[in-house]
Symmetry: C2
Subunit: 197 residues, 2 copies
DNA sequence: AATGCTTGTTGACTTTTGTCAATAAATTTT
DNA sequence: AAAATTTATTGACAAAAGTCAACAAGCATT
């Protein structure tokens, strides 16, 4: 319980910044969120499973990925402080088209879809918070769309550097490559060219 | 006023499907939404302007686009029934990084940001509707992200056919090309290859 | 620390796409 | 309807990225 409060503090800060949370709602969060440790390499959500929870990433690094043919494509990279779901699956409670995997040892706070619905029912004003958060994530997603329309691999990699530089050393390069939609060899060459200039 | 009710009916249907709207809220919408005709080629929102309204596209076809270097890139294609905004600009009331243009003669119902905030204030339960709508649009955006990570031009064009076939003849091919992130010449060649097989 | 496995780099080559230019087709304007 | 403008197609070539393969480097594990 005590750990819960400490680990959820950053989430409460995000939510309070939108609109102060009532004490009752805070207590309900503390009650429903379950803290879990996820070891590097572990898969939080498997493709085809239903995303039945939302995770607040207290600490660590995650990626989501899906398969196209024989290739694995990294779709998102999520770091400490992120609210993590597989959107399509969570919103509609249908099978996921992507998996979510830990790129480092993580601590997550897990909230089930059902508990969240219960929270919405009891505290309708919480819709306001999630509306604003969804809007924010929507906008970030739009940025990634722009990134993918950039001309060449160098421009895409620069986007990565501008947005994920902190995590550069913690993410295997092959995952960065597929995130940017280039072959690993191409990213390797792009990096060595950029380094020399 | 009468026209308002008729033209807003599809929007009310979308909202009612989420959760029935109160009569008072409906009346407020009818009061605040302004119907406008937008001729083909007209620009609804100019880059660098603030997106001060949301539009419900009663009828017609729109595209959003931004400039990279000397090139114009189509980022979205929006058809009848869409709720249209420039997300980043509207949510934060800061200058837009994209323009929105009519690809056909359109009828739009326009709601100002300020009037919308007023609606949120008076009817907080409306946050529930917009939360679900934002979730839906988020998911659609995710699909477009997947599309851009597809291997080749043919796969991207097939995505377009699956999702926008109805509007194929109304959208100049050069806009489809930039939407799919390929050169117009490449799309032309891809189409002629696909047609022959 | 040594072994084995995975990941990253580099080279040679292929494929795809982009670019430039000319022409054809379609649209718009007068 | 004709002229003018824009858009689409096609060809020739260049550039970028993908693929395959060999090797090096980095990590885990023991």
């Amino acid at each position: 319980m005590e750990t819960n409060i400490v680990l959820l503090a950053p989430l409460f800060e995000i939510l309070n910044d939108i609109q102060p949370l009532s004490e009752k709602l805070k207590l309900l969060f503390i009650k429903h969120f379950k803290i879990e440790e996820v070891k590097k390499g572990k898969v939080l959500l498997f493709e085809k499973d239903i995303c039945k929870s939302l995770w607040f990433l207290c600490d660590g690094l995650l990626r989501s990925y899906h398969n196209i043919g024989d290739k694995e494509i990294t779709s998102r990279i999520m770091y400490t402080g992120h609210i993590v779901i597989s959107a399509g699956s969570f919103f509609t409670q249908t099978p996921a088209t992507e998996s979510i995997e830990a790129l480092a040892d993580c601590v997550v706070a897990k909230l089930s879809f059902n508990d969240l619905q219960d929270i919405y029912k009891r505290f309708p004003e919480f819709n306001y918070h999630t509306r604003l958060i969804t809007e924010q994530y929507f906008y970030k997603q739009e940025q990634r769309l722009y990134m993918l329309r950039k001309h060449d691999a160098a421009a895409k990699y620069n986007f990565f550097l501008e947005n994920y530089a902190e995590y550069l050393k913690d993410i295997p390069q092959k995952y960065i490559a597929s995130f940017l939609n280039v072959a690993p060899e191409t990213l390797s060459r792009t990096r060595s060219k950029l380094g020399k200039s």
